[in-house]
Amino acid sequence: MSAELQELADRIVAQARSGEQVEAFVSRDTETDIRVYEGEVEHFVSAQSEGIGIRVIRDGRTGFAYAGTLDPSAIAEVLAEARDNVEFGTRDEWAGLAEPDGVDVVPQELWSERLAGYSTADKIALTKELERLTLAADSRVRIDDANYADVMAENAVASTAGIRRSGRENGCYVSVSTMADDGDETQTGFGFSVGRSPDEFDLAKAAREAADRATRLLGATKPQSKRTTVVFDPYVTAMLLGVVSSTLNGEAVAKGRSLFKDRVGDQVAHPSFTLVDDPTNSLAYTATDLDGEGLAARRNELILDGVLQGFVHNSYSARRVGAKSTGNAVRGGFKGTPGVGCLALQLKPGTRDQAAIVADVEDGVLIQTVQGLHSGVNPISGDFSVGASGLVISNGTVGAPIREFTIASTLQRMLLDVAEVGGDVDWLPMRAAGVSLVIRDVTLSGA
């Protein structure tokens, strides 16, 4: 199958005219999405989508076009549109495609035959089982929905610069959303499990977490404002790392938009904070062998013992700052050109689990969820303010639930105010792994 897409990409590139650089990216996805509610299938979605994106560069100007179909007449139109669009770009001496850099690909097991052969009936059965297990976990729990989803994706990229790669991968997850009631009050929770194949699911854990998250917030009150220590649940830490990663983006650095732009070699975080981007680690949910431009994905050390080591780049941002691509081109499908981003972030884990960490906190909050990362966090200024809910920690013990408060600081301060990184790594279905994280001296705003 991928061979067919590769041939298609090759055929486009073969049409490049003299003086033109051309890149073609072709993809095809098949998705299944099942939602169960009250023991019945609420919806079943079976869908295939495909498309092509073509980038043309001539005299330092870039044009791009895409179509959500691989129909031959549409493809011809895409190439013509991309060529036409070149005329309207500004000449940019750094514009260009990625060139093969000789870095070897670290092979990854991205395809599961087991998943490819899994029957629809079995997928429905396990989604119903997840709903049943979640309801059984706690009598106060209701189900919003239980879901199963899988995707099988194949793609190919080819370019006049000599890139020629194709591959396929598949993966699946289950998730369940819960509500717990106590009188007039309702709280919500969620749980999930991911795998290359359904055999890797831990339905019991997903059910238990979904029930716990909702029930442990029942009776939550609004706390008084104060400065305090927060312990981030692994899931919350992973979300925080996502924000941190945008400050380490080479394109933001090249365009003067990163608050860390002139800080390489500086102590920007607590010495316990070592951050790597390592898509070659097969444990990572987003492990991959190739980046969005077809270069080998690789391990990059970003912050070592709190000292900033460098930034992630694709070929364009690297050329602009006189560096080499770090294999961090990120492509959001065929509808866009590659940007820059971290692929699989991980904090170097500490040694203690969450319980041991909490035992040493005299006065603080265990943060279970945060809300509004897209609205109250500005990675350019560093201002950080999010809505949150969680559990009070007093004298080393987790106690009453609290909600409807915010926690605020700045990204710059929070990294320096890290007190401990936990040893409880959780490989979440995100671009960053989770781990418990203790941050001192944040402002809690409540009543």
């Binding site: 869908a47 791009f64 076009a65 959500g68 179909t69 200024s381 303010s385 809505g387 909600r403």
Partner: protein, 458 residues
């Protein structure tokens, strides 16, 4: 042909089948760091077929719009909804009336790309001339023209065309205390004539002004304070505080704090809240929703009393009541669900200046960013991207960014002053269950007695 495809879709005994087809052409252009980086042309074309049998919905989509492609998708959707059966139904479609909510004067696909790119260069110039502290500007232009068709086994058959045109600009200023950002956007469901009436240089200067103002901003307060929200900037508050909670699909599953509250006082008597898909030219305006139902003006809250929820086909059918024109989807690849259109609060009577003057100490929010809500608990947040302190009834110092947090029903009750200066806000994209749809919102200047400000200052 549509009748034959729908016939295939219900052959396994389903009660309802629907074809949604679209053909969308779009153009976008991005300027960053002083360069037009790229012009992009896009084409999205395909059909989604939905089949409902009992409480189960089957859905399949295809980029192949030939009869063979549609029949294959119909069979897949029917199989998804069912495991057998075998009946034949004849479908007779009646073409619905042509309906225009937002007339278009100049279709953007008939405008030269050079003219679109020129807008970005003008915005870049205007923002950069706002001051030496402006260090970076990025600007974007986007337009789309989408033809769509909906046909279903109830005989509904409509076609429509949706046109959108938008510009946005982000500005970075650098000062002694670090970088700050400013943002503005303008988008309408009309064509390129948008730029006959909108001063894009003024829009760019305003984004620059916002970034420059914040260079001297002090940390926002921490804790509960009165908050005055400027006209046209705070519709997102209602979108989050109650809009989502009034979507019938969430209500039906008991996932809304507004469940069972119809006829009850749920907000300050000052508040009349409307969801209005017919508001010509606004970002959430549609002639038909994505289930083929004509858009409507729906009063959700009248003088503080909850009058109705918003409805799509499935929920309305279940309750045996009419739809409200709120069945929307991101594209042919998505199932429709209950979504807002243009959601706004009608005018009150206060002069906006009087509202500020009546506030001894609080926060004045001149622009809100995005927000999000947990509809079951009612807790919601929204970001303030431009805000000031109010001291002794005067707007004083600018504040750094942060989130505000509140509980929907509490905040609606706490609205104690409502202005007479209604305005719509910036175009928005509302996310729900992984789908984004364009929405609008608006409100007059208003005051909330108490909201928690997520700043760092004492």
């Amino acid at each position: 042909m549509l009748e034959r495809v729908l016939g295939v879709a219900v052959r396994t005994g389903a009660e309802f089948a629907e074809v949604y087809a679209e053909d969308k052409r779009s153009t976008s252009a991005g300027l960053d760091d002083g360069r037009v980086e790229q012009v992009t042309s896009g084409r999205d074309r395909g059909a989604g077929i939905r089949v409902v049998k009992g409480d189960t919905t089957g859905f399949a989509h295809t980029a192949d719009l030939s009869e063979a492609g549609l029949v294959a998708a119909a069979e897949a959707a029917a199989a998804a909804a069912s495991q057998g059966g075998g009946v034949t139904r004849t479908i007779a479609l009646t073409r619905g009336p042509e309906r225009t909510v937002s007339p278009v004067a100049q279709y953007p696909d008939e405008v030269l790309k050079a003219d679109k790119v020129a807008l970005l260069l003008r915005m870049d110039d205007a923002a950069r001339s706002a001051g030496g502290s402006i260090v970076q500007v990025s600007a974007g232009y986007g337009d789309s023209r989408k033809r769509m068709l909906v046909a279903n086994t109830d005989g509904v058959f409509i076609t429509d065309e949706q046109v959108r045109t938008l510009v946005r600009i982000s500005v970075v200023a650098d000062g002694d205390a670090g970088m700050q950002t400013g943002y503005q956007s303008c988008g309408h469901t009309i064509g390129f004539e948008l730029f006959d009436n909108v001063d894009i240089e003024a829009l760019a200067r305003d984004a620059a002004r916002q970034a420059l103002t914040k260079l001297v901003a002090r940390p926002a307060p921490s804790g509960a304070l009165p908050v005055v929200i400027k006209q046209g900037s705070g519709g997102v508050l209602f979108h989050e505080a109650c809009g989502h909670g009034l979507e019938a699909d969430l209500v039906a599953k008991g996932g809304s704090v507004y469940k069972g509250k119809k006829g009850e006082l749920v907000a300050s008597p000052l508040v009349t809240l409307v969801d209005d898909g017919t508001m010509s030219g606004e970002w959430g305006a549609i002639a038909y929703d994505d289930e083929g139902h004509a858009s409507q003006y729906n009063v959700l809250i009248q003088d503080g009393v909850l009058t109705d929820y918003m409805w799509d086909y499935l929920r309305a059918r279940k309750e045996g009541r009419p739809q409200s024109g709120n069945g929307r989807r991101q594209s042919y690849q998505h199932l429709p669900m209950v979504r807002m259109t243009n959601t706004y609060v009608l005018n009150g009577t206060e002069e906006p200046d009087d509202i500020v003057r009546a506030t001894e100490y609080g926060v004045y929010v001149a622009q809100l960013g995005g927000g999000s809500v947990n509809t079951a608990s009612g807790d919601f947040v929204f970001g303030m991207t431009e805000a000031y302190l109010i001291e002794n009834g005067q707007i004083t110092e600018p504040l750094r960014e942060g989130n505000l947090i509140g509980n929907g029903p509490d905040v609606l009750r706490d609205i104690d002053l409502l202005g007479n200066d209604f305005a719509m806000g910036n175009p928005g994209t509302c996310g729900k269950d992984g789908q984004g749809v364009p929405v609008g919102d608006g409100q007059p200047t208003l005051r909330v007695k108490s909201l928690t400000i997520g700043g760092t200052a004492a």
